[in-house]
Symmetry: D2
Subunit: 350 residues, 4 copies
């Protein structure tokens, strides 16, 4: 059993991490921190844990954090960049769910996040945590861990994960601008109560937001290698969880000869090794409800011959495959465990 | 007071028509038909009308229909094309909410709807009912009516309405493929109870559908004059009403010199005369909840300089501005009434 | 046209008041105040008003308030008790939506609201604003107004309104404890964003709250004259609006001879004069969605012979018939207008 | 590994059974039947199973059913009463989720279900499956199974489970009529698509139904031993899953001496042995969202001294603790496994 800590456990991703770690056969949830809720029993803040754990939140500077073998960081950006260096020095592997180490280029990070990066020397060391599109990064991390080194994983964000799973196999056949319209449930806006997350504001409503300026833009471009080609428009829809990304790729003239079957084969091959990604049968479109609460991703592919465009969609749970689940998937891979350890759930069927 | 009939009154658009007609100062709701619910009191099927009307549905062949001055047809496609000729012969003005007379080209209609058109001679006579983008069509209809002729109006569909309001002022500055991702509430799928409209299937879920093949594609292309350039992907979201269309336009090189203010001015000018369409202040995005239950349309405009793209969004109520409200707006214009007669409602604020 | 002011216009009841007042043929919305949002355009806070009004919120102490003929007070308790005396002195009629003047007994008020009443001398003068159960109070108010006096109306709360409409005609035949379980949409919890009103907390959830201690208890007891007999348990359900009250009355032995038809007649007679309350046909139960956005109340009645109990239910919109609509209904009655002026809406049918 | 069959696997309870059985370490899902969906892959009807199982539904008369060691019957009433006798003869243990064997008295069953019972001789043999309130029944079943006999378990219904968990420890201190108002999510209405389960009918709505006549009435009375004392009013709320039962008990005069702490102790003792039932801390009320997707039950207790009433609430997932989960819990107990095998999930926190 590894001693596991969750830094920033009171947010939605942190709570989902607790839920997964508590059922993980190799993990012992040693400490869960939250500066704002320190001292509060987890089950008081999240009554779902009533009867499941007596753990209370402690502060980020709880010494128990340094007794851990591995920490998940589910904190707002700038927290991990300050504490990860010390964790790594103490031999503690860090799985970071925040944006701090995702962008390889310090300048790009600072331009989009409007803040100085305080540990840019770790950007190169960080392994990018989107195992289906970057298996080589996970292999590097596992090798380092096996060699006795503490590892730093920078997990991909929610929109980048769904978007890259939808787009990656098609991008090599595309040209020009790539249009991504994505829809997220309200957990994506975080646990902060404000006018926008009020039930009566979000309910029976959908809207676009961050149009032309969402911070996941450079991350998606980096993952797919499409710098300068992306128009990304996120939308909010009245569901707690779920994220659907709809990607429209203008195909090249050479790709005109390929039919839907050809593209489907590329997608199926790309994800054949993943226990989590399923390319749906032809004609079926992913439903977010089919993956909510799980680490699964459902992908659909369609062609529009008139415009020579490929339309690919991907549904995930923004908090699981888009955050906590993918983080545990990365941890499993780093540790040499089966990738789906504690991650085999099927969604509530309906 | 004009005698008004609603053919196909038991569907969502028909019920909304009853709601508007009942409060219209110039309309007397003379007959409301539904073959499947004939004999049933309206207030039994829709308890919202309890205490508001004692009317019962009659059959489509109720002779009272021919006593009307004006009929709204809220029937599935192929019904209007069979009965409109006779209504017009009897001097009854027809406001058709279905697709039967929307497409000017008979072959395009037959290709997309897989059915023979039985009154193609009326396609040219039909006035297209999307007053903001086709004011000249409404002017033609009003002139004919003023001259004592029965008029045929083919009202635009829900997706075409929101999409064209978002796109129209920007299209002249665009080139290449136009990507439209739109989201509709579940009333858009109709009142038929099936696996897809079951609460537990639609709730907490969003999904794309009709990818690359939705029948509103040729109608949007016709309205905007963008034949062969459209990729239209509709989505379903867990709300009863509301429709949001997000349009991404690749701008021409010449348009690179225009800034957001330039585009905003074009949009504001385009809709200055409409009592229903509001271009929102800069930085604000339309929320469907702000227009639900009303005939209003909210439009937002943004630029993405990196890709030289314009992103425009429009929110409407799919059943009101996307169907029944727009039909009454067209009827008001035909009759020479104030366009917003019975259509001044503001949405439930929240 | 009367000059009308809304004090506390930024909350849900205040916003709904604006929506109704703007369409009221005899009312001119002269001023809308909110200390927290003073200076903000109404349409910025509530985009539903985009295109409908350019009004901005002003502060409660805006001198324009004293130019009004009539003010609606949609403020938290303790605000009206401080400012109503001055309004009345200036000859301004006050329609108070808060709890300040509802309870006739100062001690009861102070015991439940834990605050001293600063204008108890007005408690007797205040007319209770639940027109269907207290028509004599509205008659008194109208007579005073007709005699040139400024009037103070204390409108009933949302739970008391639905509960008394369900219970009133049955109470004379009941004995012992009266059990009321009611369900409210989330607007009932107010516009304050907090952990409880966060979309992800309220969504897909229902729960009881304020069990055994809700402040509407003494008000319901006073309206129905059932002091000491009420167990009132409110619940929260995942809808923006709507309130359903389910009342179980243990009938007396003498009432055993009455059948459902007898009770239905009592209910129908009780509400025959009201344009807003409909007793639904036998076997039909009120749906909150059938009254949302309107001032209507739907009532259902059933008997359980085994236990000799009457079960009556009433559905209203908590913000309209439970607050803003009822306030305008009271104002209409005070002013001698048709009671349903600006209040004839039918709900979105679905 | 036991070979397990699910008869009636295409409904919501059946699908949830598949979800649990697939992750059960001692169960092999051998066959899942549905006459209406025979031949269809499970993952086609419920895309949540995409990537999780290739199983297809077969017909109820699939011979594979008789190869099973244990079958769950998630069929409408009257199916189990016809096939259970044959299963038992073949030595197959039957866990019945339907109403067929719940009521001990054949006449009561026939009066409420309006159908003849075709295997009344099994009513006595059937063990009642609500382990927390009837542990002796589960002990009897386990003893029979250990002795090599096939066992018949009649699992409690959803409303009876939540209601009896809320009421049982309080009933001995009560007198007179017991009022139960319960709220269910829409899965409770089944997978049949009709006007009532249509998204746009159920959404943003709550309503009472089956007032004074719901079939769970005699079952609740039997469990609690309160024949003739129950008024049970179920309600529908706009959530997919979840069930909340609010029970109001008039306490006896002798019980007036007991305070809330006394009652809380009774409740805590009653459920101390259950891994699933948690009595929440004082002042906290159960939220259905905290138990959705799990076999957990949360119970809250409050007192109203004025009326000398106890108000107890219980939240469960109607499809899990109210159906499939409780069935697996019963199966675990029969088989001598840990009661929470495959049932340890925590709800999605939010």
């Amino acid at each position: 059993m590894l001693k596991v800590g969750i830094i920033g456990a009171a947010g939605y991703a942190g709570a989902e991490l607790m839920r997964i770690v508590l059922r993980h056969p190799e993990f012992d949830l040693h400490v869960a921190t939250s500066n704002s809720d320190a001292g509060t029993p987890v089950a008081h803040l999240y009554p779902a844990f009533q009867g499941a754990t007596d753990l209370a939140f402690s502060r980020h500077d709880d010494p128990a954090v340094y007794e851990c073998d591995l920490v998940f960081m589910a904190t707002p950006h700038t927290v991990a960049m300050k504490s990860a260096p010390s964790f790594l020095e103490h031999g503690i592997t860090v799985i970071d769910l925040s944006a701090d180490y995702r962008l390889r280029n310090k300048d790009v990070f600072e331009a989009w996040y409007k803040v100085e990066h305080t540990s840019p020397e770790l950007l190169e060391r960080a392994c990018f945590g989107q195992p289906e599109t970057h298996p080589e990064e996970m292999a590097r991390a596992a090798a380092e861990y096996a060699a006795g080194k503490a590892v730093l994983v920078a997990c991909a964000g929610c929109y980048p994960t769904a978007t890259s799973l939808a787009a990656a196999p098609g991008v090599p056949f595309s040209q020009g601008v790539i249009v991504v319209d994505a829809i997220s449930g309200v957990t994506g806006a975080g646990r902060t109560a404000n006018g926008r997350t009020h039930f009566c504001s979000a309910n029976e409503n959908f809207e676009a937001y961050g149009v032309g300026s969402h911070r996941h833009t450079p991350e998606i471009e980096q993952i797919l290698g499409i710098e300068g080609r992306l128009v990304f428009t996120p939308h909010l829809a009245p569901a707690s969880r779920g994220l659907l990304s709809t990607v429209t790729l203008q195909l090249t003239e050479e790709a005109r000869g390929m039919d839907l079957g050809d593209f489907r084969r590329r997608y199926e091959e790309a994800y054949a090794a993943s226990p989590f990604v399923t390319v749906l049968p032809e004609g079926q479109q992913p439903k977010t409800s089919s993956v909510v609460g799980t680490n699964r991703a459902h992908v659909g592919v369609a062609l529009n011959p008139t415009t020579n465009c490929l339309i690919a969609t991907c549904a995930i749970d923004n908090i699981v495959k888009g955050a906590a689940g993918q983080a545990v998937q990365c941890a499993n891979l780093v540790l040499g465990l089966a990738p789906d350890t504690a991650l085999t759930l099927v969604a509530n069927p309906s």
